[in-house]
């Protein structure tokens, strides 16, 4: 079967590059940034995890309850973030990490709601996401989640904004090309919440969506809206199988 060898090698080479939906943005980082992400003592995102731990134990609301009073160790939430967003059939809506934390705080703890992208919300969400580090992303897109999934896919592929570009134009067709100094990744979401050097701070998946929409001069999406959550579901599905890295580090 010697004559097959070149073909097998060719296939092998393509396979190792993998389908676009299976390459974490981590692989585009230089050695220094990888080292920064890999070292918990140097990773700037870990500051939010520490802050999250303090908040986890802080009593709040009329009954002075802390997250710990109901959930005990944060580690109990291992396996949550890698399955988000998930469809809540009773409420007929998708939940992501932000809506779960915000709703729990408002409805059960009855404390004031944490604003999107606020340091306190990011501290809690990063703490929770961090518990699932290493677990593969696996969202459910069948059953009641199907319609949202299709909506998210359509949104990903639809050109938008004054520049009239879609998410797919950049993160599928142009993956690996250089946009000025930036190499375009496959647009995976396994690192979030993550630390971006250009932000000099942490951000959620929805902040990234907002950033990319701004780049093409598109109308921002409300991060609680059905379409924003549907798009996030599709992004999480594209990232399926990748290990959760939060808090990842990106340029």
């Amino acid at each position: 079967m010697k004559s097959w060898l070149p073909i097998l090698l060719l296939l092998g080479c393509c396979a190792s590059a993998g389908p676009p939906e299976h390459r974490s943005g981590y692989h585009l980082l230089g050695g220094e940034l990888r080292a920064l992400q890999d070292d918990d003592f140097a990773n700037p995102g870990m500051l939010w995890v520490d802050r999250g731990e303090r908040l986890w134990n802080a009593p709040g609301g009329p009954r002075e309850q802390s997250c710990r009073d109901c959930h005990d160790e944060p580690a109990n939430l291992r396996g949550l973030t890698n399955r988000l967003p998930r469809f809540d059939a009773e409420a007929d809506r998708l939940h992501n990490l932000d809506t779960l934390v915000r709703d729990c705080r408002q409805q059960r703890q009855q404390a004031e709601v944490l604003p999107h992208e606020s340091e306190d919300l990011l501290a809690l969400t990063t703490l929770i996401a961090h518990q699932s580090r290493g677990l593969p992303l696996e969202v459910t897109v069948e059953g009641p989640a199907r319609a949202a999934f299709e909506q998210g896919r359509a949104s990903f592929e639809r050109r938008r904004g004054q520049l009239d570009l879609s998410c797919a134009d950049c993160h599928q067709r142009l993956e690996g090309a250089r946009l000025r100094g930036e190499t375009i990744s496959a647009g995976m979401v396994n690192g979030f919440p993550l630390y971006r050097l250009t932000w000099e701070g942490l951000g959620s998946r929805q902040r990234m969506i907002r950033w990319c929409n701004e780049a093409v001069r598109a109308e921002p999406m409300d991060p609680d809206s059905r379409r924003a959550l549907a798009l996030e579901l599709y992004l999480a599905w594209r990232s399926r199988g990748l290990p959760l890295e939060s808090p990842a580090v990106r340029r």
Binding site: A177, R178, L179, G181, A218, E219
Partner: protein, 169 residues
């Protein structure tokens, strides 16, 4: 500046390929609704072959102004995708072809079509139509019903691109 402009695979179409598709056809591209400012003030582009021979809005292009427009991140920002002789742009993208000598390869009419309405040649292209605003979705309010560049800015860019013969900085 080292040459960095390798076209992304499958992105580049040869001029002859484009010619084959549109040569000889005279097409009128109806433009988006004219807006209050002077940006969308022409009602149509007259396509001849794969170019627009008439300057947009009968403007006269200025190459120096065109270099500014191409470099300006809020306006052309062309080097995000193309290698261009812009000494100030430290990084160039490689999404589109190297344009360092494009003036030697394309006529002003061809350049005008590619800057103003490139997707007429290839609807799938990622290069935006800088002179059109029609049919876009979810445009941010500040940019609604406005093309990315005004007629004058497009003429300026075309005038600058026409001067590029590969001898630039």
């Amino acid at each position: 500046m080292p040459a960095a402009g390798t076209p992304a695979p499958g992105r580049k179409r040869s001029v002859s390929e484009i010619r084959q598709r549109v040569l000889g056809s005279l097409v009128l591209l109806a433009l988006a609704t004219a807006s209050a400012d002077d940006s969308a003030d022409c009602a149509s582009f007259d396509l001849v072959g794969d170019g627009i021979p008439q300057p947009l809005g009968e403007r006269v292009g200025n190459p120096d102004a065109g270099r500014q427009v191409a470099a300006d991140r809020q306006r052309g920002d062309c080097s995000i995708c193309h290698q261009l002789p812009l000494p100030h742009a430290r990084f160039h993208g490689n999404v589109g072809p190297d344009l360092s000598a494009i003036g030697a390869r394309l006529t002003p009419a061809q350049l005008r079509l590619r800057v103003a309405a490139n997707r007429h040649l290839n609807p799938e292209s990622v290069m935006p139509d800088y002179g059109l605003s029609r049919g876009r979705h979810d445009v941010a309010t500040a940019f609604e019903d406005r093309p990315i560049l005004t007629d004058q800015e497009i003429e300026d860019v075309v005038a600058w691109l026409s001067t590029l013969d590969g001898s630039g900085p």
